[in-house]
Amino acid sequence: MGKSIIQKIWSSHQVVQEENKPDLLYIDLHYIHEVTSPQAFEGLRLKERSVRRPDRTFATMDHNVPTYNRYFIQDETARNQLDALAKNCKEFGIRLADLDSEEQGIVHVIGPELGLTNPGMTIVCGDSHTSTHGAFGALAFGIGTSEVEHVLATQTLWQTRPKTLKLQINGTLQDGVTAKDLILYIISKFGVTFGTGYVIEYCGDVISSMSMEERMTVCNMSIEGGARAGLVSPDETTFSYLKGRKYVPAGIEFEREADRWRSFASDPDAEYDKELVIEGSEISPMVSWGTNPGMCSPVDENIPTLEAAKSSSDKKSLASALQYMGLHEGMEIEAIPVQHVFIGSCTNSRMEDLRAAAQWVKGKKVKDGVRAIVVPGSQNIKKLAEAESLHLIFTQAGFEWRDSGCSMCLSMNPDYVPSGEHCASTSNRNFEGRQGAGARTHLVSPVMAAAAAVYGRFVDIRKEEYSRTEAVNSY
C-alpha cells in the first residue's frame, strides 16, 4: 500500500517513538514574529537555555507594523514588542527581517517568497496560519508560545499523529471564481470543525492547475476549517516557483533537491482516514456575512433565514451573528453596504492578488464614502507591484497604497474599521472585533473586494467584464 505525503513527512521526522507518548518530531524550520515570541525567549533566559538551531529559525516583524510612516510607532507597547524581538534575535543569533530589511513582510508571505519553505519540511510558527506553507508540500502548523519555547530549546515537538483527510476538487472553477472562493466554499459546506484532528491534503484537477500563490490561499485557511495543517503534494509548479529563489540552491544541487522533494508526493494508492470530493464548477464567488468563516454564501444568494437553521444552537449563533453584523435574515448579499475595503493579509496580498484587483479597478473609481486600502504582503511584493505600476492604478482609482504588514487583518497596528461599519476584506477571519471593536468584516476574494470598493456594495463579479485568465496574464 502506498503512503500519503503526510505519512512520509511524519515518518521521516520521528526522533523518538515510545509507548504511551506522542512522537517527538524534528522541526526543520521555525518562523517567529513579535507577538507570540517574547514570553518564549523570556522562558529560555529564566532557565538559562539556548536556542538549539538559530540557523533553522527565521524572524520577521509583521503584526504590529504601521503601514505608513512605519518608523513612527506611537503605540509604546507595540514598539516594546518590536524592540524585544530585535533584542532577542541579536542575543540568540537569529536572522531577522526587521523594518529596514528588503525581506520584511508577513511571515507567511516572505517564507515562501525567499525560498525558505521547501517540500517535505516540518515547519512551525507561533501563528495559526502557518498552514499556508503546506502549499509547498510541507507539514506546517501553528503552535502556542510554550511550544515556540520548546522548539527554540530543542528543535523538536511532542506531537500525536494526526488523522489524514483527502479533499479532492474536480473539474475547473468558473471565470471570476478564485482560490479564496474555493476555500470559503469548502468551509461553508463542511463547517468550521470538519478538519479538527486532521491534516488535509488538497488535490484534484482544480488544485493541480493552480499556481503556488493560489495554493497558498487555499492552505492558509485550513485552520478556519479546524485543521492545523493543510497541504498539497509538490509537483512541477512547486519546483519552478522555487527555482532561483534566494535561499534555494542552484544548478545541479537544485536538481538533486527537486528529486528529493518529488519523492514526498503522495502515492496514487495512498489511504486516508477520510475522503471528501467536490466539483469546482459548483462554486460561486463567496461573501461572508456572519462572525465565523463558515458563515458565508454565494454572492447571488441571500443570507439564510432563522427558520432554515438545522438546530437550536445554530439558530442561536445565527441570530447573534446577524445582530453583531447589523444584517437581517433573508437579506440579499448584494444589498449589503460596504464602507471599507482591505486588500491584504497572508491570505491574499501576493502579486497575483494585486494584479487581479488592479486589472479590474483600472480606469474605475472608488465610490464616494468608501475607504479602500491595499497592503502588499511584503516589501518585495510592494517593489514588484510598483515596477508593474499597479500602485498607480490603485491610487488613481482612489485606493491607498501602503507598506507591508498584517494591517487591518487583525488591526494591531493603527489600521482599523470603525464600530458598526462594514469592510470587504481579503483576510481570513471575520470574528467579532477582529478588524476593530464593533467592526463588521466580510471575507471575499481580491477582485470581489475591488468591485465592492467601486460599487459600495457586493456585486457578482461573474456578471462584470472580467476573465480569470485575462486578469492573471495581462501584465
Binding site: 526522533v15 507570540t36 514570553q39 537555555r49 510554550s146
Partner: protein, 195 residues
C-alpha cells in the same frame, strides 16, 4: 506549573459554540511581553461595555458564576488564533479546568503547557452537566488520576485523555526538561539526516 489531581470547584456555564481566541483575549492585549496579568482582559469585549463597566448580559458576570474555577462551554472552544494568551488569561482569571464537547486543536495543546485541564465530554454529557449545574448547585469534582467528572446527586462520567498529557498535568512537569533528556537522540537524528 501547578499539578492537577483531584479538584473540587464551582463551575461557570458559557453555553456558546465556536468561542474563538479573539473573544477570549482580544488583540489589543497581545502586546504585553509578560506571561502574567491577562485575567483582567479575559473575554474583554463581552465582559465590559465601552465605558469599562461590566455587562449584565454576559454569563461570567452573573453573580452565581463569580469565583468559578471550572468552565463549561460549547463545542469547538478556543478556535482561531494560536495565541497562548488565551489559556494564560483563563488561568489568571481562575479557570484551570475547561469542559466542552470539543476543542480546537491548537488551543487544546496550549492548555496542557499551562496547567489547564481541557476535558472533552459528549454533547449529551455536556448538556446534562450544564443542567445539573444550575441554581447554585454548581459544585463539580474532577478526578484526573481516575479520569472522572462528578457533580450533583448522580452525575458521574469518565473522560479520555492521552496518558502523556495526563502525566504532565498530574506532576506539573516542564516539558522542555523532559525533552532535553533526549538530547543525544536529537543529535543523532541531525547527524543521520545531515542537518
Amino acid at each position: 506549573m501547578k499539578p492537577i489531581t483531584i479538584v473540587t470547584g464551582k463551575a461557570a456555564i458559557l453555553d456558546r459554540a465556536n468561542v474563538d481566541t479573539d473573544q477570549i483575549i482580544p488583540k489589543q492585549f497581545l502586546k504585553r511581553i509578560e506571561r502574567t496579568g491577562f485575567g483582567q482582559f479575559l473575554f474583554y469585549n463581552w465582559r465590559f461595555d465601552e465605558q469599562g463597566a461590566e455587562r449584565d448580559d454576559f454569563e461570567l458576570n452573573h453573580p452565581q458564576n463569580k469565583g468559578a474555577s471550572i468552565l463549561i462551554a460549547g463545542e469547538n472552544f478556543g478556535c482561531g488564533s494560536s495565541r497562548e494568551h488565551a489559556p494564560w488569561s483563563l488561568l489568571d482569571y481562575g479557570f484551570n479546568i475547561i469542559i466542552a464537547p470539543s476543542f480546537a486543536d491548537i488551543f487544546y495543546q496550549n492548555c496542557f503547557k499551562n496547567g489547564i485541564l481541557p476535558i472533552k465530554l459528549t454533547h449529551e454529557e455536556t448538556a446534562l452537566l450544564m443542567s445539573v449545574c444550575t441554581d447554585g448547585k454548581q459544585e463539580i469534582t474532577v478526578d484526573l488520576p481516575n479520569q472522572l467528572v462528578k457533580a450533583g446527586d448522580g452525575f458521574r462520567t469518565e473522560f479520555d485523555i492521552h496518558p502523556y498529557w495526563k502525566e504532565l498535568l498530574v506532576n506539573g512537569w516542564d516539558e522542555i526538561s523532559i525533552t532535553l533528556r533526549y538530547d543525544s537522540k536529537i543529535e543523532a537524528f541531525e547527524k543521520a539526516s545531515g542537518i
